[in-house]
C-alpha cells in the first residue's frame, strides 16, 4: 500500500532541503509531502542543478516519479541564503513542524492524513535567538501532542539504544534517574517495541549508571537504590529485563546478540557505540508519541548546504524505518 508521509526539511539554510531533493531524484514508492516553502525548494533544486516538480497531494497517496515531490506550502518570511539561518524564519519552520505533526494525528478530520512524520535537522540556536524557547524536536513534539513522557531511541542495523536521559549535563544525570522516570521510560520502551516494532516480549538490557554498574555499591549507589528496584518491580509485571549491566561489557556481541534493545542511562553511554556500528545510517525514533516519528541523525551542516555534497543516507534510513513501522514490518531486521 502506498503511504503518505509528512517530511519537514527543518532549517531552510541547512542541508535538510538538499537531502530531500537529492533523495527523490529517482522517485519514491510512497508519497512524501514536504511541509515547507515551495519557493525555497525550487531555489535549492536550481542551486544543486537537480530536477524538482512540486505537486499538491491528491485524495489518495501516489508514488513519486523521478524529481517529483508533494508539498504543503508553509511560506517563509525572508528569502533564504544558504548557510545563513535567520531568526525571522524560525516561526515558520516551527509552524511547518506543527502542521506536519497534526497531519499525522489520528482523527484528523481530513483525508490528507499522513502515516508518519520524518524530520530533518533544526538549528536550535536560531530558534532561541528568535525568542522562542526550543530545546529540541523530541520535547517540542511531546508538548504538541500532549504526550506525558517520550523516549529517544536510536537505531542502526541490529542495535537499538533508548536513552533514560537525553541532553542533560552529565552532572545532573544521576539526580534525573528516579524510580518514576525509569519505570515510565522502560514501560514506553517495552510497549512500543511490541506495538510499533512487532516484537513480542522484547528482551531489554539495562545499563548501570556507575563504573562496573556500581560494583555492589562501592562505586555508586544508584543501581541499588533506583535501578534494581525498578527492574525487579517491572519484571514482576512480566517485562523481560536484564541488568543493570556494566555499560562497557553490555555493548559487546555476547550480550547484544540476545537483546532487542538497550536502555542507556545517558547520551554518551549509548550513542558512541552506534556511531561505530552505523554512522550515516542511524535513525532517531521518538517513542511515547501518539504518532510515528523518525528523524535524521545529523545536524544542519551549514557549510555543506547548496553544495551537493550532503549525504542523504540518513534521511533514506529514517524514511525506511517510518514506512516499516507504519506498515507493521519490524524495522532494522532482515525480512
Amino acid at each position: 500500500m502506498t503511504l503518505r508521509l509528512a517530511v519537514t526539511p527543518g532549517e531552510p539554510a541547512g542541508i535538510g532541503p538538499d537531502v530531500l531533493i537529492q533523495l527523490i531524484q529517482h522517485g519514491y514508492p510512497h508519497e512524501l509531502v514536504a511541509y515547507a516553502d515551495p519557493e525555497l525548494l525550487q531555489q535549492r533544486a536550481e542551486q544543486l542543478g537537480l530536477a524538482l516538480t512540486l505537486k499538491q497531494p491528491g485524495t489518495d497517496p501516489q508514488p513519486l516519479a523521478a524529481g517529483e515531490l508533494a508539498v504543503h506550502s508553509v511560506p517563509l518570511t525572508e528569502t533564504v541564503t544558504v548557510g545563513q539561518p535567520k531568526p525571522a524564519n524560525a516561526a515558520s519552520v516551527l509552524k511547518a513542524l506543527a502542521l506536519a505533526t497534526q497531519a499525522c494525528m489520528k482523527n484528523t478530520a481530513t483525508n490528507k492524513q499522513c502515516a508518519a512524520l520524518i524530520t530533518g535537522p533544526m538549528h536550535k540556536g536560531v530558534i532561541n535567538d528568535a525568542g522562542i524557547a526550543f530545546s529540541g524536536h523530541t520535547e517540542y513534539l511531546a508538548e504538541l501532542t500532549s504526550a506525558h513522557r517520550v523516549v529517544m531511541m536510536l537505531a542502526t542495523k541490529g542495535l537499538r539504544v533508548a536513552l533514560a536521559t537525553t541532553h542533560l549535563p552529565l552532572s545532573q544525570v544521576p539526580a534525573a534517574i528516579t524510580q518514576t522516570a525509569l519505570t515510565e521510560t522502560l514501560g514506553i520502551l517495552h510497549n512500543e517495541l511490541e506495538t510499533k516494532f512487532g516484537i513480542s516480549k522484547p528482551r531489554i538490557l539495562v545499563c548501570g549508571l556507575n563504573p562496573h554498574a556500581g560494583e555492589g555499591g562501592h562505586l555508586g549507589r544508584e543501581e541499588i537504590d533506583i535501578i534494581i528496584p525498578v527492574i525487579d518491580s517491572l519484571r514482576a509485571g512480566g517485562l523481560n529485563l536484564i541488568g543493570p549491566l556494566p555499560a562497557d561489557t553490555l555493548f559487546t556481541p555476547k550480550y547484544l546478540d540476545t537483546a532487542d534493545a538497550v536502555l542507556a542511562m545517558y547520551h554518551d553511554q549509548g550513542l558512541p557505540v552506534l556511531k561505530y556500528q552505523g554512522f550515516g545510517n542511524a535513525v532517531n525514533i521518538t517513542l511515547g508519541l501518539p504518532i510515528i516519528r523518525t528523524s535524521v541523525d545529523h545536524g544542519v551542516a551549514l557549510d555543506l548546504a547548496g553544495t551537493g555534497t550532503a549525504n542523504s543516507g540518513s534521511l533514506s534510513t529514517a524514511l525506511s524505518y517510518a514506512v516499516e513501522m507504519a506498515q507493521g514490518i519490524l524495522p532494522g531486521k532482515p525480512h
Binding site: 563504573p211 562496573h212 556500581g214
Partner: protein, 325 residues
Amino acid sequence: MSESRPLIATMIGDPCGIGPEVIAKAWASGEPHKYSRPVLVGSAAVMEQAVGFAGLDLPVRVIDSVDQISDSPEVIDILDSGKFNMDDLTLGEDNATCGQVCADWLKEADELALSGAVDGTIMGPISSVSMKMAGVLDQVINIEPGISYLFLISGPLRVMHLTDHIPLRETCDLITSDLVFSALQTMDSRLKEWGLPAPRIGVSGLNAHAFGEEEDKEITPGVQRAQAAGINATGPIAPDSIFRHCIEDKYDAVLAMFHDQGHIAIKTWGFVGNCALIVGPPYLHMSVAHGTAYDIVGTGKANHEMMQAAMVLTGSLAAGKGFID
C-alpha cells in the same frame, strides 16, 4: 639481537588461572625476546605444570637475580621467592592463598622495577575475587586521580582515563583545569618516552556534544594551558566522535574524562587484544585485559596472543620504539 632490549619482569598471574599457560606459550613463540629480555616472577612449580598444560617441552630454571637470565625462548627464567606451595593450588577456583601470593609477587616485580633492575613489569591475569578474599585487592586497583591513570590500548585506539573507579555523581566535581593540564603533561611526556616524538593528543569532552559548563570552565582552559606549554592537544571534542578519530589516526591517543567513556569505546570497536598500562609509577606497568578463564584452565585451549602482544608492546615502549599495532 641488540642489547638495547629492555628487561621486562612478568608476574605469572593467579596460579589457578590461565596466566601461567599463556605466558609459557607466549615465551615459547620467541616474539617477546625480539623486543625485550623477559624474566618471570612467581612459582617455578606452577610454571612447570603450565608448560605441560600448554603441550610444550621447555625447562623452567630458577634464578636468583635478573643478571642470570639465559635470554632464550628455549629456557624459562623465573625469580621464585618460594612463597607458593603447590598444596594450595585449587585449579579453576578462587582461593585466598592465591590472592595473597599474587599480591606478594606483584610487590616483588614492582620492587625490581623501582630498584632499576628491570625496565618494566607485566601483570598476568589475577582473580579479583581471590585478592578480595585475601584482603589485598586495594593494592592492585588503587588509581588515584592526579597521581596515576589507567591507559588502555586496543590497536590504534589508545585511551588514558582522567578519572577511573569513581561514582558518576562524584566524577564531574573532580574534573578541574589543573587536573586536565597535569594529566596532559604526564601523557605527553610518557608518549615521548615511549617513542612518539610529537604526540597528538585528543581531549574528550565530559558532556554530550562536548557542550557544557565543565567544558567551558575546566577542560578548555586545561587544554589551552597545555597548548601554551607546547603540547599538541586538541579538544574538548564530542565524546561520540573522538574515539573514531583516534582509530582513524587523527590522534595518537585520547584523554577520556571518566571510566565508562573510555572503556565503552575500547571494548566496543571490535579489536581483539587489549592491554592496559598504569601511568604513574616511574616505570612501565602493563597488564593484560583478559581474566583467569577458570573454565578452560589446564585444557591447553587458552589463547596466548593477548599476552604475547602485551610482552612485545611493553618491550617496545620501554625501549622507546613506539606502539606496535
